[in-house]
Assembly symmetry: D2
Homo-oligomer: 352 residues x 4
């Protein structure tokens, strides 16, 4: 089943990205959720909230756990979240006394939002690395072709000549700024979410803060004052950063598609897409798809910002909307960087 | 890999829909593409464009064809479309003389757009049927609970009492109109796309029209004057129809979520989602997710309308954007109808 | 004050449209609201709900009424709607006994939605007329230049030659279909909204239907079963029709901008925009702005569909969102048609 | 003419904001454009590019200049930008020798983008100040009502009690972070745009950098390496910051509307909107409109990100789209802050 092109076996190498998509696989999600539960148990045992011996018991139950995916899907269909069904499966692997020690004081959103944070941290690293590669590759292109003179165009009309250097700079500099914005969004995204039912850790008495701090340390996430269950500004801001990256790459793609036009020919593509009807053609496929991905993320961004309007202490409606949108934006961004690198490495400015 | 919740094994029963998603599987797409190629060969043989004996040869090559999906993905990565790689695999199953008879005079967009039309025809039937069920179910609810008096609310404040009948009517009537709009969009969607390289069927001489008419007849699609490769109004209009359906269901969901509030209690849910932290709660999960899906489709609709701006005789950028968006809207709509039916069958208006 | 370019004195002739914008002026809105109140009084007097003599009194009060706009703005700031403040001003012009006869049994949404319907009816006529002009003008262009041969382009690369006729058809045919869709949306839009506080006309006893029917007749609007206060499918569907029009024109504009490129030169513009830095340039301004308006309406359309999710019997939040968006879409559409006509009349296909 | 509610005389006090809108008036725009031209002349005279005496001549021509707005509108309709028509009017006030010294070496986009930067700098100050007021006011609310206990709600169902303090924190903290993001966007927005025809300052020889640095200093903007005509990441990022602010306020408004429901009554509004049909009602108008403005900006944000895809050295299509969207987002944000402050000052948490 793959209604979304981003997941479709056919489209992986066009608009998808295996590495980024793997962060959102069922396996990766389960691992991240288990990571939360283990860190929680450890920190609670350390501070005497659950008994010490619960930790090895929980660790044993989690290690080697293979979920019954069908039952999880059934559970999500009922509960709207994976956690009750997952806990049921996990608790069946624990002796009765320890069942209550698993997930003690936590709520579904704690596990799910933290599990997402853990994977977005990896996504940011992946995107940052690829941004570096595209930036470097454009630098190498400038080094090689920067002195080529070409015609500039304003409002779709020939204007006066500029150097390729000037053009390449206008592609690379936004990516450098986008990279800094991405780095800044780590603070928004790599955050521990731990608040219990309504964000007050009411079951942990006066130990909420210290337990949360230890968990954050264990999971290499930021410990913040209070959980941000309903404060979606950080995640929406991260989505904006993604859309800026694909937008900047889309501008690069648009320019390449325009410069590679048969009649313009300012840029040459080392390889191009084939046509079933016209074998003579060399289509600037990656350039076009960069435009596609820019428009895709720009479109989706609106939905992420709609979902900031969160009702009360937890909005099922707004939260589920994020799940439907954000992973696709991450994968779309990774795909755009993959294509952007391919393009930067495969174009050359034509010397007369 | 399932970055899109709509495809994710976990979320199938929440925001996904197996039946609708199956229309967009690799298998379904291949079958539809093969259906086009066979209809093309038949019509061309009938009119003497390719030899009669090419038809059984092509039929044999297509039947029982199992694609090398990895090679198709590789091909799409290069060409931006599946067709060149698919033809290569198919032609390897044909004797040399017939290789040129497969796909003669056609272009990638002919096959892909027609293949989509075939599956959207099924999607419309599925959605139409489910709309009928939801409408009927709301009718039954009115029959049973219509006389119950409840408080109306304007601008989030209690106003004056109305009957449940009045409320149910305001949920059902839009769906009845949406259903008529969906039916009207068949004319836009169930269309044969056959134009060759640039929409002129230049390789078919004076037989383009008669071949196209026969193909359309064979495939049970409409034969139109000239192919609509670059005229995306029909597909965008269909996307609007989908978003109206999810919007109308979202209003129903929003009302149920508001009426089922603990403090309001005008509606009772037969079942509700469980909470990992608060076992006493009964969450109106399907009602919330109807709001999610309404906002999801509303968001995506903008992208479908952006992609009407199509460059020249074929825009890789705009066309690929449709592929990334439309299937998700179809599945999202089917999911909303599934949830809408579940909700209509499981709520009851409370009598004092 | 004109934060919206569509209203800005500078931009009227670029992205604005005086004629369409006049439908949304303060004066036009007041006239439409007064029209509702008068039709209401007439129909209620006819059926004995208010005394006969109230009609001439109300008519006198409404005729020549000049609103205190500042007080209306103040009222809207408090109440979220214009009606309470407007009624206060109108009632001060009536003798005490007749004050209660004005707006009897009606609610703010009745007046405002009906007032909008009256003006959208005019907007549809205006848009329909202009669509006819653009379609005719493209027909004349085909008549004159249709036989010119030019290079077709797929995926931004030269493909094979086509006739200008083929190209023009792909611009005109979507507009013909869009026009049919617009006509179909009259049924959705030109509707009387009259339901009283919560859509039940509870103050009119058994005379609600007959009064509404008479009012609809008087105002030349459709009388429907029950008021559609909370059923926003019709207005959202109308917004879709607008976005299809601007989308189709945007595709036309995009093609012209591409064909008019200095290096391509397949189309010549009779006139072009000047540049402050490069006097030699002739910029395809209307072609570009058609793309702008297509993207503008496509963007806004998402908001109109978000606003279908309406809480209970009246959502201040969703309803106000429509007010912020729809008039701009109407004006943007009218502007696009104005520019589209200018373009169709001012381009010529170049013969070699 | 006011198709946009944000400009409409009726809606100023609801969704508009006089102070913010004044930054986008014709007068403010002209002043900003003249500011650029004067700074340019000064810096060019200082570095010997134009004669010293051109400066007082230009200063005199600009001071007291009253534009012929009709002619400007006509010019924009032709050229797509105001600059050629404006220069024509200004040059008619200069002696022939100095006419060429005005706007020497500059292009329309230099003047317009810099003119926008000057006004956005003021907008940021206005928004920042108001953010401070809302944050302070929520602090005062916490001070007064923070200890009140109320019922928390997750997924639209009563959960367990929390303190008002916890709730208020979740409204205020996002605004504190949004304020930091806004401050960070000054670097993106408050930038001098000066590049000449295609961004190379080709007419200034080796003095481009020093002239630009002096102009930036004069105008209190940042001097950057090279002009960012086609690099729209900064402006799109600023738009994201605006949408985060309205989103965070929308969440506050949504909560207040839910808590003020008749059946819930956890919050009391000092004043509320009146109803024309139900005088007993007290509608939470500002709370609802905060939701409206959040959805409005979230919708528009997609368009700002679409416009990052800029063709070549200047895209008329993408640039004009920004003009249609960004000012409305600024005014919408200012309006939301005005309403947010009103709400924060007028709600009280109910003690049992």
């Amino acid at each position: 089943m793959s209604a979304a092109a981003i997941d479709h076996p056919f489209f992986t190498k066009l608009v998808g990205d295996k590495e980024a998509a793997s962060l959102f696989s069922a396996e990766a999600e389960i691992q991240a959720l288990l990571g939360f539960e283990l860190a929680l148990a450890r920190a609670q045992a350390k501070h005497g909230i659950i008994p010490e011996e619960a930790v090895p018991a929980i660790e044993a139950a989690l290690s080697g756990f293979t979920p019954d995916v069908e039952a999880l899907a059934e559970g999500i269909g009922n509960d709207g979240v994976i956690v009750p069904a997952l806990l049921k499966q996990l608790r069946s692997r624990l002796d009765t006394p320890h069942r209550a020690h698993l997930h003690f004081g936590a709520t579904s959103q704690d596990v799910i939002d933290t599990g997402l944070a853990l994977r977005l941290a990896e996504a940011i690293t992946l995107i940052d690395t690829r941004l570096g590669h595209v930036i470097d590759s454009l630098g190498a292109l400038e080094q090689r072709d920067g002195a080529v003179e070409l015609m500039a165009h304003t409002r779709m009309q020939a204007a006066i000549p500029v150097s390729a250097r000037r053009k390449i700079t206008s592609w690379r500099d936004p990516l450098i700024r986008d990279r800094a914005r991405l780095a800044a969004s780590r603070d928004d995204v790599e955050v521990l979410h731990f608040g219990g039912a309504v964000g007050t850790l009411e079951k942990l008495g006066d130990k909420g803060t210290i337990v949360a701090a230890d968990m954050a340390n264990d999971l290499q996430l930021r410990h913040v004052d209070h959980p941000r269950h309903t404060e979606r500004d950080g995640i929406a801001s991260f989505a904006s950063a993604l859309s800026l990256i694909t937008g900047s790459l889309g501008k690069f793609g648009q320019d390449v598609a325009l410069m590679a036009q048969s009649e313009v020919g300012e840029i040459e593509l080392a390889t191009g897409g084939g046509s079933s009807a016209m074998p003579h053609k060399k289509n600037p496929v990656p350039a076009e798809v960069l435009v596609t991905l820019a428009r895709f993320n720009a479109t989706l961004l609106a939905g992420m910002h709609q979902s900031i309007v969160h009702e009360n202490e937890r909005s099922g409606a707004a939260w589920t909307l994020e799940w439907m949108i954000l992973p696709q934006m991450v994968v779309g961004t990774a795909a755009a960087l993959r294509l952007g690198l391919m393009l930067a490495e495969n174009i050359s400015f034509k010397r007369d």
